[in-house]
Every structure is written in structure tokens, then in C-alpha cells.
Amino acid sequence: MSDPAGHSGSPTAASIAAERTRIRSRSSVLSAGEPMIWLTGGSLMLCLVMVVLLLGYIFKQGMMTFWPGPVTHIVTEDGRQYLGEIAREEEFDFTATAAWSMWTALEQRIQATADEKAKAELTAQRDTLLAKTVELLSPELDPALADLENDGAVDAFRIASSSIDAVHRSLSALELPSEAQPRQVRDNLTKLLALQTLFNRSPDQVDLDGAIGRLENAQQHLAAVQKSVELMFYIGGDRDFARVRHSRTAVKQLRDRLAAVQQVLQDRRARPEVRKALQQAGDRFLHVLNDLAGSTDPGVAHTAQNLRDAVRVRHRRRLLRTGNYRLSKTHFDWVADFEIATSAAPPWAMVVERREWGRFYGFPQSFTQKTRRPPSDEEHQLQSVQTFLARHGRLLKNEDARAIEAAKKQVQEKLQAVRSHRSQDFLAKVKSDDAPVQRALLEGGQAVPFDRVGADQNVIGALRISEGRAQAWEQWTRHHPVVQTLFDREYVLRRSEIGRVNHDQEQSRLSVRQLELDTDVNLLETAMQVLTLQEQINALDRQMEQAAQAVEYARTHFQADAKTASLASRLLVRFRQANAGNRNDRVRQIGQLEAELKARLGDEAEDGMTVLQSFWRTQQRTAEQTREINEQIEALDRQQARYEIEMEAIGNGPNRNRATKTTLALADIVRAYPANRFSRGEKWNVYVARWGEFLADDPREANSEGGVFPAIVGTVVMTLILAMVVVPFGALAALYLREYAKAGPIVSVIRIAINNLAGVPSIVFGVFGMIFFCYMVGSFIDGGPRAASIPVLPKMWWFGILIGAAVAELLGVIAAYANRGGGKHDNQSTPWLLNAALAVPLMAVWIAAAGIWLRWIAGAESVVGVAVPLMVLGMAGVFFWMLYSSTFCEKNDPRSFFSRLVYMVGLATAIATVAVVIFLVATTPFFDGFYEARLVDGNPTFGKGALIWASLTLALLTLPVVIVATEEALSAVPNSMREGSYACGASKWQTIQRIVLPRAMPGIMTGMILAMARGAGEVAPLMLVGAVKLAPKLPVSWNPPFGVDRSFMHLGFHIYDVGFQSPNSEAAKPMVFTTTFLLIGIVAVLNVTAIALRTRLRRKFVASQF
């Protein structure tokens, strides 16, 4: 620009340009949108930081849980010992109160000790500890005292005086019985007000003693007033009652506030004394403080008590997981840093994870391996002869008694000889030179060195004891895997084998129950009696067989001594007679019972007896199987019990100063390792093994240890069923709303209702699921309408309605079809079948809601009487929607009004029939449930919390998510595609099926993903519909109903349970994070799978447009 100078006055071009530049530069920051960049970017960062922090925290905590930490051995100044893992460290307030209680605890121990030397030791410890605490706390004394000066006396007085006025007013409004009282009170209160003025002006010059005296005085008067007011209050005149109540509160309040003022003044009076005493106390200030706290002067005592908590210092302490619950009655203990005398990481300190009683920390002492001497056949036979004689000897007449005694003795001697002979053989065999310590286990239970075993002693086993820490550990590593394998075998036997047998047993029992229900007579009890008798007969037969064997043995082996042999033979004959008598009795009884059963069954005797026969057979077979399995389990138990490790635990007992030796059976130990000796690699092994256990095993120790496998299965199965249910339903509903229903106010209302459903608290769904699914539908499946408390229609009525409904349905369908708009006007008309299909769930929900409302909320007695009108009302609502959306809104509908009316009515009838069918099913007199037998036994199958109900409840909960997502997806399908399809001559359904749905599929999948994520993480409703703390079985099975009727474990519920319901919450805390981490992981895996599927679909259907 030219000519910048001159031409002042009017604005030049240059100055205008400069001005504009200035304005532009001022506004450019805003107009360029710079602040928005920062604002939006900042918000994003904030969100990201929060999410990353949350996930990172859970990740870190979750991953750390299983890392084996070092084991620390701590000895405190006062001689306590701790061995364990440090769970966490924190700062805490160490107060004079805590210091004093430590001191008194030590003092008590000193008093309790008789031993002089120990006493001296303890005293020394006490003194060092005292010195330490005094050293820690003394600097805090003066500040604490100074802090007490701010006692808020002025405030206390002000607060109190604000009540004085209220009391004054309310009392004068009251006609108190005695004339004198209010005046006196007034005088007193006036005096108090004067005191307040003085106090406000110069609080330091208040005569404390005088003030306290006056307060005392006022208190006494007020007490009297309060008494008479109370009296008035309890007598209760109706006119002035509100006033009495008012002054009652006012007087009470004033008394409390005056008491507070009094307290403050007393403290003030006492403070110089306390200060002086403490200044003189020096090192002994803890004692002095204690003495002062017990002072008779309330001011001194109060001040000292306050001081005890006010003298405090921030200090560190650590929480030690010390385990050994049975020895120390605690799993965790706090140790303050100043208490610690020494802290070390002893190399042989072992962490032992037990199946019960939590962790054990200690040092390995020795390892014992037991070997049982296998009893020989001869020994066995002799023993049975012995038992036979002992048990049945008295069957013979008296004259033989002596002979029997002699025979017994002879057998005993022979047994002795055989045993000691075999014992020596056994010892010779097991003896080995390189073995560590070896001991023989005698019959009485004592263990003696081999060379001290007498020639006639019965050795039942041998012990190999490896002493020393390294040796014990070495033996442990060798034998624990073996025991673990045995334990696993036993676990399988206990779980699946026993479970299978129990299932058979239960089924056969239920078959009798069913027979009872069918024939309406009692059978099971009698059948069980027969079973008992049969078992007794079997036992008798077994005894007989054993006796015969024993006698046979005696006859062949005691040939030399014919007397014993013949005695045994004679005894056998007697025994056989007695036995046969018993046996015949029972056989006869069985015959009687069977005849009775037949009589009871009457006409159905033949079929009934077949059922009963098979029941008896099955019960006997399963009993036999159970016996066999138990024998196997016992054998495995015995093998596992061969190994033991002896540990030395320290820091036990209430004073934490005792060392104890404890023997742990290897079978009770999950894992043990000397943490401090372990290299990083070995720790890594432990870490991986723990993760494996966590993922694949059952929980133990009230869920705070072990695995979460059942919860993983429960969560995954529940989520899958949920997805399988909610996606089709939600997608169909959305399809109707978006593609068929005419947009209008009613559809808008429905859409809003669905969106609101998403905001309903999930626990409400839980309640609904429990009442509707468990108690109504579930009970109905179990035992028919009667079990679900639904009234049953009389048979004639039922049939009448059925026939009526069938005719109406037929007519309705014919009418609707004949007058349908479909075919020729397919694009426009709403398909009548889909209309009907949508009406079904709507009606079901309506009926259920009405039923619940009636039965449980309104408490109606006769449900039918009220339900029918309600149902009619509901049906009317549905019809009008249908009519509105489908019939009146058709465009260019060329049909006559009459034809449309017929279509409408036909449609209405068809839909009404659906409702009637539901009604008929619900009230059928012909259905007694699928699981009635179990219900009679008191075990509902579906009428309780179950996996399927949980899935359905969550399906309801997540329905809005799917509907909204599907609707979005459907509306995102470009209209041009629909038009293109119609232009090709496609009908509406063909268009939807071939164009719209495939295009919307990824969106529907998105809905599924969201629903699954929401459902898998839900906890509250699950508590009501089937999630449990500990499920006995996994919710999957080969037998119908395939386990969906079982209660189940769920990770979300597990987190809640472990974190907040666990008795050992400190130990469970890390598991909360691990389980959370796992739940997030599972949801992520489910989602990633679904997302991968969606991406594939998307690639197939939606590619670039140009």
C-alpha cells in the first residue's frame, strides 16, 4: 500500500487494511477451530487414559496373582516370628494407643512366664520395643498437644446458645404444671447467655471453675424440666402435642450441647496439668499418658484419651500371608517395620498349597515312605477261621465252650507263627543298605529299628525316612507326581463313575415314583423294604460262603489236630441251620411284601411288577457297582497315604513364638516348592502350572483357591444359548418394525418402549425371570399347571374351548387368506402370517404379565375370573395395532370395504386363537409335567434356577440391543437396492430375503456381539435365576435335558462371591483380578470370533461402491 503517513482524520485504505488484519488475527484462532482440536483430542485422550488405566490395572494384578513370590522370615523385637509371603505393604498411623497395647501385651507375657531366663529376655525385648516406640512418637507429642488447643470452645458455645433460645420459646409456650419451673429455667438460661457474651469477648479470662459450675447447675435444672416434659409427652394431650414434642427435642438438644461445652471447658481446665505431667515424664510418657487417661478428673481423662490417638506417626507395615491356619488361627498378619528385628529369606522355606486349610509355610524336615507288608493267603484264611470261631462259637452248646477256646487258641498260635515268619521275610526283603533311616512298623503302631524287632512280633509295614531338608525335598519331587496321578484317578472315579452309577440308581427309583403317580398307590417304601431284605439275604449268603471256605481250610490244615477240624465242621452245620432259618424268614417276608404290592397294584399288577423287578435288579446292580468303585477308591487312598512329609512351622500359637512339627500327607498337597531357592525358570514353571490349574480345575477352599473351570464352562454355554435365542427373536422383531409395520405413532411408541427396556435395571429382569421362567414355566414343565399354581379347566370346558378355537382358527385363516392383499399387492400389504407370528410373543408376554400381576402382586384368588377380561383387553390392543398397521394403511388397495373387513376379522380371529391356544396349554387338565416323579421327590427340575432360564432372562435383557442394532442395519440398506429388486419383479419377502437381510447381516452380527458382551458380563439377574457359588455338576450332559436344567457357576458371579462373600477375603483378593481378567478375555474371544465372522460377511456383501 502506498502513502502510509499523512491523510489523518479520515481512515485510509492502509489503516482499514491494518484494522482488518488485526480483527482477522484476533478471530483466527477461534475460526480456525484450534480450540476444538484441543477439546476433542483432549476428551479422546482422557477416555483412552481411563480405559488403558483400568485394563492395565486389571491386567497387571491378574497376571501377578500366580507368580510365586519369595518367602520371608521375620523376627520381631519382642520375639514373634513370621514365615510367609508379603501380600502388600502400606503406610498406617502408629498411635500411642497402639504402642501402649503392644506394651501391655508384652507385659502380660512377662507376667505369665515362670522361667526367669525367659522373663529376662522378654523384659529386654519389651524395653527395646518401648524405647523404639517412644523414639518414634516423642516428636509427635508437642504438635498433638498444640493441636488440642483448637478445641472449638467458642463454636461449641455458639451452637449451644442457639438452642437456648429455642428452649426458651418452646417452654414458655407450654403450660407446664408447676408455675415455678419455667421461671427458674428462664433465669438459668439468662445467666448462661451472659456467660456466652463474656466468652465471646475474651475467652481466656473466663473463670473456668465458675463457668463449669454454672453449666452444671443449668444441666440439673434442665434435667428436671426434661423429666416433666417427657411426662407430658408420654401422657400426651392431643391439643398441644406438637408443642410438647417440639420442646422435648429442644431440651434434649440443649442438654447435649451444653454437655459438649462443659466437656470443652473441663478439658481447658485440665490441659496445663496434663502438659506439665507429660513434660516431666520424658521417656515414660506412654505410662504417664495411660495413668492420666485413668484419672478421676473427667477433663484430664478426656484430654489424655484424646492425646493417645492424637500422638501418631505415619509408618510402614506389611501384610504377611503366614498360612498355617490350624496352628495360628489366622491366614494373614500385619507387621510394622519398626518391630522387625531381622528379616531374611531362608533358602529352605517352602510354600505348600494344600487341598484344605489353605497354605502352609514351613521347612521340610523329613520324608516318609510307608510300605505295607502284603498279608499272605494263609494268614488271610487263618484270620477268617479265627473270625468264624469268634463270631459263631456260641452257636454250639455249652459243653463245647472249652473246646472252642482251645481251638481259638490253636488258630491264634498258628497265625502268630505265620505272621512272625512272614514279618522276618518281609524285613529281609525291604532292607536295603543305601536307604536312609529304616523303621519297622509294628502292629501296635510303634516304629522301631529293624534290629529291635523281636522274632515273634508282627510287622505290618516298613518306613523309609529321609531326613534333612534337601533329602526330603528330593524325595518329594520324586514321589509327588505319582501321588498326583493316583489322586487324579481317584477324582475320575469319584466324579464320573460314581456319578454314572448314581444316575442309574436315581432313574430306577424315579421309575417307581412314576409308577406310583400312574397307579396312585404307594409303592416305593415297600419296594425299598424288599430291597433291604434282599440285601440282608445276600449278606447272609456271603457269610455262609466265607464260613464254608474257612471251615474247608481248617479241615485241610488242621488234620493233625482232628478235634479242631471236627469242631469247625460241626460248627458249620449249626451255623448253616441258623443261617437257613434267618434266610427263610426273609424270603418269606419278601414273598409277603411282593404279594402285598401286587394286591395294591390291582389290575396293573403285571406291568407294575415288571417295573418293580427291574427296579430291584438295578438297585442291586448299582449297589454292587458302588461297592466295587468304593473298593477301588479305598485302594487308591491307601496307596496315596504311603507318603508323608514332615514340616517344621515357626511362629505359631497366639504369641507367634512357637515352632511346631507337622506331618502332611502328600495326598493333601497340591503343590509345594522352596520359593527362595527357585530360579526364574523354576518359578516360571510354578506360574504356568498355577494358571493351568486355574483354567482347568474345580475351585477349592471356598473358591479362593484352585480353578474356575466350571465357571468358564457356565459362562460360555450361557452366553452361547443366549446368543442363539436372542438373535433370531430380536432380528425378526426388528424386521417387522422396519420393513412391515407402517411408520406412525404406534410404531414410534413401540420403538421407544424397546429403547426404554434397555434402561430397565437388570435386577428387574432377574425378578421377572425368576417368577415367570422358574416358577411359572419351569414348574409347568415339571409338574403341569397344578405345580405352577395355574388353575386347571374342567375337561369339558377345555374340550369345548379347543373345538371352538379350532373352528374359529380355520374360519379365520380361510377368511384372511381369501381376502388377503398378498400376491397381487405383495409389496404393500403386511404379510398376515408374520403379523400373527408377532402376536404370539406379544400375547405371551401380556398373559404372563397379567398372571404375575394377579397372582403375586394383586394376590387374586381366582385368576381365571380376572385374567380373562385382562386377556381380552390385551388381545384387543394387539388387534388394533395389526389392523392399523396392516389393513387400513394399504395404499391403492383396490378391494372393497367389505372384503377388507372380512380379512381384518379373519386375521383377528387367527391371532385370537393363538392366545386361546396359550391359554389352553396353560390350563390343560391332561398334563402333569415331564418331571413329576422328581417333583414328588422334592427335586424340581426346571422349576428353579437353571442355565436355560438364565439364558432366556438375559436374552430378554439384551433383546433391545439386538433390535436396535438390526434396525440400524436394515435402515442402512439403501432404498435403491430395494427398488432395484422390486423393479425386477421381486416380491417383498423375496427382496428382504435376498437383498435386505444379507446386506444387513453384518449389522445383525454387531447386535449379537453387543448382546453377548452385555450378557456375559451381567451378574445381578443371574443370582436369581440359577448362578450359584459352587455347582456340583457342569451344566452340560449327554442325557436329556442336556444339563440346561442345572444351576451353574458364572465368572461374573464368581468375582462377586470371591471378592465380597469369601471368609478368607484377603487371600481371595488377587483371584478377583485374575477372574476379572479372564472374564474380559472370554468376552473378548467371543467378540473377536463374531467380529471375524462379520468381517467375512461384510467382505462378501458390502464392498466399495465405486
Binding site: K891, R895, M977, A983, G985, R994, F1101, V1102
Partner: protein
């Protein structure tokens, strides 16, 4: 709109019909004599159409010749698409559409209560302004019309596909990737695919609504060539904004204005010797 200082064309009337239309008066369509000798396939009779309260078509009378290309031209919003979409009743899908009058396709009424709309649409093919291939393979796109009829005969489907694609001059480009998604093609290819889809079912009439307006010049050229090839084989009713296109590829042209048909005649006559000055003004770009 202006009509100042322009030479009155040969044979054109002096008075402006467009002004009459703007005033809302009823205006006779100027129909050229040549039309009367043609064989008629579609006869629009006194056709009125309302979107709700708003009338979009006024008293349309139009006789479309069999086997010829008839172009609809006119300024934006004059109702060309509406008229076209009324022929196969796609407008039925829109709420609040009301009509009076009728159309007759090969002697059969279109707006009769007894007419099966779906059957009707099957006799026509339609190509839209923006290519709208379906989210499926090229092959399935082409045989879509047969598929919805339930045709399963593989050989027939294959043959139809090839014929239609050849007809749409697309066969050589896509014959190796018939089973790839149609959505992966270029815009021009997609539009030709839509044409193939439309001609696959051997329609009586082919309706095209500005088929080139969303395409680049090269793709437009290809489509134009294609229309030229289809000429004679099919009866084509095409809406276009492009005067050159109309003049090059159509036999007859209809000029529409504000929902009314103004002039209708052989393309060459209409472009070179329009009867009305308004038509000339529009064609020469003096308004619109």
C-alpha cells in the same frame, strides 16, 4: 425464464405455452404427425399423479412406439422420473401417492385392481440413475429375475447370463470373474450390469432414468453406445438431461415442463424443427 429477442423458429407458434403452464392453465401437448403412424406399445391416458397434496403429473397423454427409443427431457423436477416410475408402479412403494387415469401396456391396463403388479414388473426392466447392483455375485445379479421365479436350470441360467452380459457389452470384461462380488466393479461396469440385469428377463419395455448422470464421460460413452445397440431390439423409455444424448440415441423425444407434456415428436424434428419456441429455447439451452 426469458424469451426475449429470439427469432421465432420455423413453424413455431408465437405464444408461449410454458407461461400458460406456470399460470396453471391446461395446455395441449404438441404431438408431431409422425407419431401417429407408429405401432403403440404403451399408452398413457389422462394420467395425473399426486404426492400427498402436491400434484406432480397433469393430464399426461403419451403413446410410446414399440421398438423405438423414446427420450424424456425437461428441466429438473418436471416429473420425468415420476412418469417413468409410474409405468412399472414402483411409485406404489412411496407413501401417499395417488393417481387418476390409466396406462395401457400392449393392450393391458396397468392400473387395474385385478393387475398383478409383480407380473407387470416382470415385463419391464428398469435402470436407475445411480447403479444399484445387488450385494451378490455378478452372475447372481444378472439372473436375479430368473432366480426369483424359481428357475433352477443351470444351463438356462448360464445361457441367460451370457446373453444378457453380451447384450450389455460386459461379457468380455467379466466373463472370468462371474462369481466375484458385483460391488467390486467400476461405476460404469455396474451400470452396464444393471442394464444386463434389466434385459435378462426379456422385458417388453426398458425404463431408464438418467442412466449416465452418475458416470464419468468414458463410461457414459459406453452406455450410449450400448443404448444405440439396444435400439431396435427393445422399446426403451429413457430420461435424460443431456441433449446430445437425447438427440444421438433416441427416435422420439418428449419435452416435459412442470408435470405436463409440452411437445412430442421424432427426435430429429424436435431438435431441428420444433413446433414450439419453448422447446427450441430449452433445447438450445436458453433456459432450464
Amino acid at each position: 425464464m426469458s424469451q426475449t429477442g429470439i427469432d421465432t423458429p420455423n413453424g413455431a407458434e408465437g405464444e408461449s405455452r410454458l407461461e400458460a403452464i406456470v399460470r396453471g392453465e391446461q395446455v395441449q401437448t404438441e404431438v408431431h404427425e409422425a407419431i401417429r403412424h407408429e405401432q403403440i406399445i404403451l399408452d398413457v391416458k389422462d394420467f395425473n399423479l399426486w404426492y400427498g397434496d402436491k400434484q406432480a403429473l397433469f393430464d399426461n397423454n403419451l403413446r410410446v412406439s414399440r421398438g423405438k427409443v423414446t427420450a424424456l427431457i425437461g428441466p429438473s423436477g418436471c416429473g420425468k422420473s415420476t412418469l417413468l416410475r409410474s409405468v412399472n408402479r414402483i411409485n406404489d412403494l412411496i407413501d401417499n401417492v395417488r393417481i387418476t387415469g390409466d396406462m395401457i401396456l400392449s393392450g393391458q391396463t396397468i392400473y387395474d385392481p385385478s393387475v398383478d403388479v409383480i407380473e407387470l414388473r416382470k415385463r419391464m426392466g428398469m435402470v436407475f440413475q445411480k447403479p444399484n447392483p445387488f450385494p451378490m455375485s455378478i452372475y447372481e445379479n444378472v439372473v436375479y429375475a430368473l432366480r426369483i421365479d424359481g428357475e433352477r436350470n443351470r444351463a438356462l441360467l448360464d445361457e441367460t447370463c451370457e446373453r444378457a452380459l453380451r447384450g450389455a457389452a460386459l461379457w468380455d470384461e467379466v466373463k472370468d470373474r462371474l462369481h466375484d462380488s458385483a460391488l467390486g466393479m467400476s461405476g460404469g461396469q455396474q451400470q452396464r450390469l444393471c442394464i444386463a440385469r434389466a434385459i435378462a428377463a426379456e422385458p417388453d419395455v426398458l425404463l431408464m432414468d438418467e442412466p449416465c448422470s452418475a458416470l464419468d464421460p468414458i463410461a457414459t460413452g459406453k452406455i450410449e453406445d450400448l443404448i444405440a445397440e439396444l435400439r431396435g431390439e427393445y422399446t426403451i423409455l429413457i430420461v435424460t438431461h443431456n441433449m446430445q444424448q437425447a438427440s444421438r440415441s433416441s427416435d422420439y423425444t418428449v419435452f416435459m415442463y412442470l408435470g405436463r407434456l409440452v411437445e412430442y415428436g421424432p427426435t430429429s424434428d424436435l431438435f431441428e424443427r420444433p413446433h414450439l419456441r419453448d422447446t427450441e429455447d430449452y433445447i438450445t439451452g436458453r433456459f432450464g
